[in-house]
């Protein structure tokens, strides 16, 4: 186990209840089941209050970091989100996206450092929308909230992050997402070098965190570097570098803080396999990649397909089997109300069993 001690010096106040929830562009696109699970876990398992306000929008952070949305604009969009939160009577802002979390931190810090920018933002918001705003009492990423309740979740665990056959802890690679704490190290649990937000969940739920040489390296999203096709060689190369670096540790799965990172670490395994035939994972079918909501959902006994694990390119079944989770293989790719809607084409990192039951014990 990693000798992480310094994380305790980077603590932050995380509200206990009454969250104003902001959705993530990437998470709702690729991991809608994770956003649903977050709300369900908070409301149903933990009895917390959370508002999913239909009026809120993207923070436009992907546009900002693609340099097409100016700083003044994104500050005003952020101000509108705060105004909506005020209007709804909430003061604890939680966002489901690392890019957004970085944006909110950056905007609040910029307003603090350069008060004239806050003034200008108030002016812009009023002019554009007639709105005013107060800053949130607390700002957290959704994983911070999950971390905050990790022991309650552990107490209700149906499964633990251990190999059900051997009883050994599962080896987990955690990927934090650069904008969680690299921009403002004090805003993330554990700081920028040894962030503890995911490690804390993993350790609470029985798993073992793997430290590897490229742990802190970026997944390679790089905004314009993925969004523009001509630049994607950069994006895949960075994930490739990470996967190569973690592979010798034989991780059972990867868990990501940031929805973009989760998506890339999943999808690039497919692309690398198609491009150069390299596959990762013990059986050559990829290293499963989870979001922390999915990890929490599995621990709490949620059905894998209700969590949306069928939306991953890399099969998660080997992991489910290791954890001793019961699931219906045939139900994986069904539509609403069990409707048959066809299956994805088979690929190296996605066996897509038509009638075989996936069993690593064979």
């Amino acid at each position: 186990m990693m000798k992480r001690r310094s994380w305790q010096e980077y603590q932050k106040e995380i509200a206990d209840d009454r969250y104003y929830y902001a959705r993530s562009c990437i998470r709702q696109n690729f991991f809608p089941g994770s956003e649903k699970a977050f709300i369900d876990i908070l409301q149903n398992d933990l009895g917390k209050e959370l508002l999913d306000d239909p009026k809120h929008s993207s923070c436009t952070g992907i546009g900002y970091h693609s340099d097409i949305v100016p700083l003044e604009t994104i500050m005003t969009v952020v101000a509108r989100q705060f105004s909506l939160m005020n209007e709804a009577g909430y003061e604890n802002f939680v966002t489901s996206c690392i890019t957004s979390f970085g944006i909110y931190c950056e905007v609040l810090s910029t307003w603090n450092e350069f008060p004239e920018t806050e003034e200008k933002t108030r002016e812009n918001l009023l002019k554009a929308t007639g709105r005013e705003f107060r800053k949130p009492a607390s700002l957290a990423h959704t994983s911070d909230v999950m971390f905050h309740f990790r022991d309650q979740i552990a107490a209700r665990a149906k499964h633990r992050l251990v190999n059900a056959v051997t009883g050994e802890p599962l080896k987990v690679v955690e990927h934090i997402g650069c904008h969680y704490a690299k921009i403002f190290p004090k805003s993330g649990i554990g700081g920028s070098e040894f962030p503890y937000v995911l490690a804390g969940m993993i350790e609470s739920w029985g798993g073992e965190v793997v430290d590897y040489p490229e742990r802190r390296h970026c997944c390679g999203f790089g905004f314009r570097n993925y969004l523009v096709q001509a630049n994607r060689g950069y994006s895949i190369a960075n994930s490739h570098k990470k996967l190569e670096s973690m592979a010798p540790y034989k991780p059972d799965f990867i868990v990501a803080n940031c929805p973009g990172c989760a998506m890339f670490l999943d999808k690039w395994q497919y692309t690398i396999a198609e491009m150069e035939g390299t596959t990762y994972g013990q059986n050559g079918h990829g290293i499963p990649v989870l979001t922390y909501e999915e990890m929490a959902g599995l621990v709490l006994g949620y059905d894998p397909w209700a969590l949306g694990l069928q939306m991953h390119q890399v099969d998660v079944e080997p992991l489910l089997d290791k954890m001793g989770i019961e699931y219906d293989p045939a139900a994986k790719y069904l539509g609403r109300n069990g409707k048959y809607i066809g299956k994805p084409a088979s690929a190296v990192v996605n066996c897509c069993p038509t009638d075989t039951i996936y069993d690593i014990r064979e």
Partner: protein, 335 residues
């Protein structure tokens, strides 16, 4: 009756100050917070640039202090001072005719530079750890094996705004060169790298030593500060830096990463300064009255400075300064 001068700190600076005072016919009393005299020099192996054993210097100073019959209070922590008195943690108060502050410095805690993983990753050590290993006669990796590739990193806790240490600690450059040579002597087959931003060879014979390290010992110097250290699966340390002279990122794994830790101001400088009305520099070190004609005087009459309490200094410089401080303090006391 002999004048009495209180010397706070029993390291190299304090001992030399007291010796000089005794020589001048003044009665010094050394107040040392540790159970024994010696300060930071205890635990050091050999001194640059001559590879003189630290023990040799230390033994000589202690012997002379002993022979001169100088009064020494050990395990005595000073909590406040005035030009003619010093208050100890146990409530005792000492009186004298002037005070010399020779409280030295604090070694930078390398674990604060989290990106290097000191205290977390095996085989990441500090220059002070290495000196201890030299003294113990056992220099090895955590698993007991001999290192084949060693990297030294300069400026850890120096010239670094991120850890509130903007000053240069001065002696680490030459220490890095010295330790690299010692390692090369112990492990002739090993590759030794020094990662630096500037090599500041300020003393006599230092530049020559640097050249010798390059030419005779084949020690590699890479101009670039290490960005991060990470563990490898085989218990080594992967480091990343920019080779700034080629403008390319550089990566390698090493068996041992030695952090050349800097000298920072003591935490209790602030409290002592406040109580006595003394000025401090922005670095936290005590500020001399002026840097030329009053560099061993404080801004308060009757309080003097010797050694690294005012800035990072080498042993040689400290010894010289202690002599000057003793003379100034004695002159004040006699007046």
């Amino acid at each position: 009756m002999k004048k009495r001068i209180i010397v706070i700190g029993g390291g190299v600076a304090g001992m030399q100050t007291a010796l000089r005072l005794a020589e001048q016919g003044v009665e010094p009393v050394i107040v040392e917070k540790e159970p024994e005299l010696g300060g930071k020099l205890r635990g050091w192996h050999v001194l640059f640039p001559s590879f003189t054993p630290a023990e040799e210097v230390l033994t000589a100073l202690r012997r002379r202090v002993n022979e001169s019959g100088i009064e020494v209070l050990t395990s005595a922590e000073v909590v406040g001072l005035e030009p003619r008195s010093v208050r100890l943690a146990d409530g005792r108060e000492l009186h004298g005719d002037s005070v010399v502050v020779a409280t030295g410095f604090t070694l930078f805690d390398a674990s604060i530079k989290e990106e290097y993983g000191y205290g977390i990753y095996d085989n990441v050590l500090t220059s002070a750890d290495l000196e201890r290993m030299f003294n113990e006669g056992r220099v090895a990796r955590a698993d007991g094996t001999a290192p084949r590739r060693i990297a030294f990193l300069h400026c850890v806790g120096s010239r670094d705004e991120k850890v509130c240490q903007q000053h240069c600690s001065k002696v680490c450059c030459i220490t890095g060169v010295k330790q690299a040579m010692e390692m090369k002597k112990l492990f002739p087959e090993a590759d030794v790298f020094n990662f630096y931003m500037d090599i500041r060879m300020f003393g006599p014979g230092y530049e020559e030593m640097y050249r010798e390290a390059q030419q005779k010992y084949n020690i590699h110097f890479v101009r670039g500060r290490i960005s991060e250290a990470a563990p490898t699966i085989d218990g080594r340390v992967q480091i990343k830096a920019e080779d700034t002279l080629t403008g390319r990122p550089l990566r390698m794994s090493v068996d041992m990463l030695v952090l050349l830790i800097g000298m920072r101001a003591n935490d209790d400088n602030a409290r002592l300064a406040e109580g006595a009305g003394l000025n401090r520099a922005s670095s936290g070190f005590m500020a001399p009255r002026d840097l030329f004609l009053g560099n061993v005087c404080s801004n308060v009459g009757g309080i003097f400075y010797a050694g690294a309490v005012t800035a990072p200094k080498s042993i040689g410089e400290t010894l010289n300064e202690a002599t000057a401080a003793a003379d100034a303090a004695a002159k004040y006391a006699e007046a």
